[in-house]
Amino acid sequence: MSQPVPSGPKLRLDGVRKTFTVPRSGATVVAVETADLTIEAGEFLTIVGPSGCGKSTILNMLAGLELPTEGTVAMDGRTITGPAAERGMVFQDYALFPWKTVFENVEFGLRYGPHGKGLSTAERRRRVARCVELVGLGGSEQKYPHELSGGMRQRCGIARLVANEPDVLLMDEPFAALDAQTRIILQEELLRIWGETGNRAERRTVVFITHAIDEAVFLSDRVVVMSAHPGRIIEVLDVGLPRPRTDATRTRPEFQALSQAIWNLIRDEVYRAATAAGSAGGARD
């Protein structure tokens, strides 16, 4: 899509703070403590951090599903006040409509949302079919989500995201519920779909949440490392590994070194959280 390229960053968090009030006790919990972050157009940015670090809260604010308590979240210089088709999302638990087939799920945004306006039924169907093919679900169009494996469900989730042609792709731990092999395959496919091998200017902006460090390093241009209690950004790292990334990428010394560096940043906290897990209860990230 040829759009006028704005001079500023694609997404910007400016002094963003998010607090929640605990329903019973009335206590205030700080989910995100003054975060500043800019994300460039076409960038693949991953946020990693232990549970409760506020990474999903940041993603939800980017989506417009939650609003910051203080500060602003903006896209192309305009403050985000609610969800919009420009910022599509993929969810950890897939969030597919169980009463719709794969095809109908992928079709949803175009059929009922603003991005499908002006498309004829035939054009819409063609685009949906193309997206279904793109994620490797050809032949499963008429299946219902409950007939699919976890990996296929998330492929469907990605097809639904891509079909709606959002400017920004928000992914909330999309591979966390999948087995290790499926994960590796889907990571590579995601990069292919994103357009890793193609022209840099045609790539969409991706913000990807994960708690898996190797996943973050493998996928991203930059990795944002967060710590919990209160959730804040402690480091932003450039990955700098050449693209396209392949199996060989994972064995490179830079890959290992960067993964180790990120692990060092959050290790203490992960251990602390693991030992306190019994008493904490219900921390959200």
Binding site: L65, M89, F97, P98, W99, G109, G113, H115, Y144, H146
Partner: protein
Amino acid sequence: MARAADSGAPPGRQWRQSTVLLYLRSLLALAIIWSLIALWVGNHVILPQPTSVAYELFRLIASGEMLVHAAVSLWRLALSYALAALIGIPLGLLMGLWPWASDLLDPVVEILRPISGIAWIPLALFIFGIGNELPIFIITYVALFPFLLNTMAGVRATDRTLVRAARTMGVDQRTIVRHVMIPSALPQILTGARIAGGAAWMSLVAAELIGAPSGLGFAIEWYRQLLMTPKVIAVIVVISLLGYLTDRGLRWLQQRLTPWSTGIGANP
């Protein structure tokens, strides 16, 4: 749409055959015990033999009398059931979607709900007299609550992530209600429809016993007064059969309309 249901066809047929056999076996056992008790009682008016009930059932059907009563009852049932659905489902949607509606209506619903439909019969007799209005009022009242409460609960139980997913695709609130919340509530609405069906049959008989000049309930009371117990039981048998068939029909509808819900465990 039927693809999901088709995949279970061979075990389904097997299941059906064995179920028919199981039913026949249980009914035969029941008839034998019944017959023995009837012998022991030795009074045709208190408890007739199953064979004489079967004979009277045949005669009532052959003469066309049973058909007339059943048709009247079914007509009342269908009308009241449709009324209950037409009032209950929209009201349930309203209460499920908007807290203000629920705040307004919930106390009324909770106060009325524990009152059995039968409790209204004397008052309804006073207002409507004997005729069609009384059973229609009672059945509608009784069937209304399962429709309303299940619709409300179903809408409220909509997975929030699905709503969020729809919102991130930029669709408006109307689309979310129409294409996310209502389909998501449908399995529970249909469960409500089945509960309403059962309740409607029970209250139909009660209402017709007292407040109607025709129908299956009326027939029971009529033949009781004539001390024709075999005919009383024959009518009861027909009620049981029709009630069973109604539920089978609703269950079929459930599987037809929500084939996807078998996979998420929403169907019994």
